[in-house]
Amino acid sequence: MGKGETVKANNTNFLMKVVRNQCFIPLAALLLLVVINLVADPGFFKITLGYNAAGNPVLSGFLITILDSGSELAILAIGMTLVTAASGGQDISVGAAVAIAGSVLLRVLCGDNSRPETLQAPIIVAFLVSCVVAMLFGAFNGVLVAYFKIQPMIATLILFTAGRSIAAWINNNELPVISDPSFKYYGEFIPGIPIPTPVFIAAACVIIIGIVLKVTNLRIYTQAVGINQSSSRLNGLNPALIKVLAFVILGLCVAVVGLIKVSRISSINYSVIAKDIEMDAILAVALGGNALSGGKFNMTASIIGAYVIQFLTTTLYKFQVQSDALPAYKAVVVIILVVVSAPTVREYFSNFTKKLKLSKEVA
């Protein structure tokens, strides 16, 4: 065998490795969207510096929009990935839970008056309270799933149904409005910084989960429980506790998203806030090539998946698809992506390439 051939073989091996990587499909999808936009209108990637109403420098452009609006989804994808891995099911109540978290946050900030002149509590206190509440609701879901052995989708259906009413009830069905401009920092811009704050919050969440997965055993524990519960127990794990933990972490993600969402509009709309976001979050996990039946997971792939969904949504807006028609277009693209990333299809392709290689060798 000549030297050239070895290099070639190494190259194909490297290529195979890249293609096999779980991040390949979402990254390829991202690249495809980039190319389509480049061809259609390179202006899509233009970023301009301007000034907003408050006179602060702000960056604007479609890319900024994607990074900004994709934040919530990316954060929820983190929690959803863990819940999926540990429980082999999905939490469909996250949208409703975001409404609750946001509502709690506003309630603490406003006190009894729904239109306060000044904030009744520091924002950090309000945020921590909403974190505790969201984690409690997460624990509620988790206990139903782990200890009462209810299917995750059924267990979370309860909060999915009741959540938005609970959110409205927390504020006596009023729509509180915060006039303090500093509250807007979390969902819009911090004066002097031209990049939207949610981008930083999402980045922080990604970094934190990265560190947590590094310095704790969260990854191996959730994976072991998701793959083989009985075996995990005999290895000294408490599978139920780990499932609850996954739901509680998702609860924390929900609280962060709640802060961003209510900060964006300095108010809340109980029936619209974070509507259908649970489906996009589950989709992000699936796009990342993670098995929805639990077990092994790839966090990076899920997070990229979240931004792919946002990229797609923004692209469709750019092409002036009507907002009512948007879901239909999205569905088509999603079907293609999910089918391509399905394990059976991937296996088929890898077998196919193997066969090609073999026939080449024979020839």
Binding site: L218, I220, Q223, I227, L234, G236, L237, N238
Partner: protein
């Protein structure tokens, strides 16, 4: 053909991918007899039953019914039922939320109209004639398991069955319920029904059966009248050891000498669990290798699972190195230096999608704690070390464990527990279904570990293996500890007669 033969199976062959599950098995059932079908795990009992009831097709062989000359073809369980072959399984397959009468007649009514009154009176009659304590209108759920089973049998009988198969019917019944079931079985026998009785309980076989067919490794060992086959003979036939050539394979291991002053590494008093074992006492010394032996279902695994806290412990005191401890879940046992390699490798052992490396470090990782993960370098080092030590054949340490062969999977699980550096290692069937080479490796390893001071409990279905490695054998029968053998008694003959019990 004899008149009283109700079922005759001739030269049945069944092949699963890679396994010859049945190889030329014959089976004959006569009218009005209770016929025990015996054999250890993998003997082919359930495959034979499934061929008979049409769940599996057969590669070769013939089945004759009712002394007819023509062989019948049974394609499905419905076919079997129409021909008068009914099966009652260990798990009730009736509908718990329907009434007794509805269960008796479900799926058997012709036409769309149901005469409920007649159905109830008919049921009443059947129940009375078989002396079953249930009311037709009662919900099935509200009956005891034993009564539910009897109702399943009554349904089968009422459907005019000639061959009744009872597959492990007594596993979840208490003694009184078993007695009632036996009365019903004898009653049916006197009516001319042929009953095939599959069970692991020797006492029950000798109490109620007329004939025994023994199978081993997919082959027929023989058919015997109950009076011609003493228990010891039965056990030896099931295990595949002729009594004549019991050339007293004595263990080569040294008799274990106990240090008089040393406290046992592990000691249990009156231990029992919700898996149904009778309370037992047990102890093991430092550096000792002992074993639990007994037939399948005798409670060997249940004992060690209770020790490890794998099943819910319901009673007992446990001491580790002389100190009282409480072991209610696996992590408690692990913290006390106990390791357990479970019997069911696939269900309880491997974490299939995880890599060989992660499977090796898992238990020690859990012991170390949530906030102290092994670094990648540490994990790799450990994995390399054990892959080399145990000669595990794997493409790499990143390979998912599920793609390894059974023997290598077992070695990975063994590595996992060795890495926790236990004082007391429990190996439940570590050699089942793995190649001979690996078997010998594992036996050698056990003896080596013991010589280094580890205490080991070793369970195996293969008596030779146990005799070679253990210096003390605990014998189990019908979920009870019935004997403990050491020294001179460690030979096949004594072990088998202890397993068999009853008439010596």
């Amino acid at each position: 053909m004899e008149d009283n033969i109700v079922l005759k199976m001739r030269n049945i062959h069944k092949i699963f991918p890679g396994v010859r599950a049945l190889q030329g098995v014959d089976f004959t059932l006569r009218k009005g007899e209770i016929h025990a079908l015996m054999g250890e795990n993998g003997a082919g009992k359930s495959t034979l039953i499934k061929v008979l009831t049409g769940v599996y097709g057969k590669e070769e062989g013939e089945i004759f019914l009712d002394g007819n000359e023509g062989a019948v073809n049974i394609h499905s369980p419905q076919d079997a039922q129409k021909m008068g072959i009914s099966t009652v399984y260990q798990e009730i397959t009736l509908c718990p939320n329907l009434s007794v009468a509805e269960n008796m007649f479900i799926g058997r009514t012709a036409g769309a109209v149901q005469n409920w009154k007649k159905m109830n009176t008919d049921t009443e009659k059947i129940l009375q004639s078989l002396d079953i304590p249930a009311k037709p209108t009662q919900q099935l759920e509200s009956c005891s398991i034993a009564v539910q089973q009897m109702i399943a049998i009554a349904r089968a009988v009422d459907m005019d069955c000639k061959v009744l198969i009872l597959d492990e019917p007594t596993s979840s019944l208490d003694e009184q319920e078993v007695a009632k079931l036996f009365k019903l079985m004898r009653d049916l026998r006197s009516r001319g029904v042929g009953i095939i009785f599959v069970t692991h309980f020797l006492d029950q076989v000798y109490e109620v059966c007329d004939r025994i067919t023994v199978m081993r490794d997919g082959k027929l060992v023989g058919e015997y009248e109950i009076k011609d086959l003493p228990r010891v003979q039965l056990v030896s036939k099931m295990l595949g050891k002729e009594l004549d050539d019991l050339s007293d394979i004595k263990g080569d291991q040294q008799a274990f000498k106990k240090d008089a002053k040393a406290v046992p590494v592990f000691e249990a008093e009156n231990l029992s669990s919700d898996a149904g074992i009778k309370p037992f006492d047990f102890h093991i010394e430092k550096g000792e290798v002992n074993g639990f032996t007994g037939l399948l279902g005798s409670g060997r695994s249940e004992c060690v699972r209770a020790i490890f806290g794998a099943d819910r412990v319901t009673s007992g005191h446990v001491k580790v190195n002389g100190k009282s401890v409480k072991i209610s879940k696996p992590i408690d046992a692990m913290k006390n230096g106990i390791a357990y390699l479970p019997e069911d490798r696939k269900m309880d052992g491997i974490v299939g999608d995880l890599s060989v490396r992660d499977n090796i470090i898992l238990a020690q990782q859990v012991l170390k704690g949530f906030f102290k993960p092994f670094s990648k370098a540490e994990a790799n080092k450990v994995a390399d070390e054990y892959i080399k030590l145990l000669n595990i054949k794997t493409a790499s340490k990143d390979t998912p464990i599920k793609s390894l062969s059974g023997g290598n999977q077992q070695k990975v699980i063994l590595a996992r527990w060795l890495f926790t550096h236990p004082e007391y290692l429990i190996l439940d069937e570590p050699t089942r279904g793995i190649d001979v080479g690996t078997k010998v490796d594992i036996q050698k390893l056990v003896l080596k570990l013991a010589s280094e001071g580890m205490s080991v409990t070793f369970i195996s279905s293969e008596l030779d293996e146990m005799l070679r490695t253990c210096s003390r054998l605990v014998v189990m029968r019908d979920r009870k500890m019935v004997g403990e053998l050491t020294g001179e008694d460690l030979n096949q003959k004594t072990v088998m007669s202890t397993i068999a019990g009853g008439d010596k």
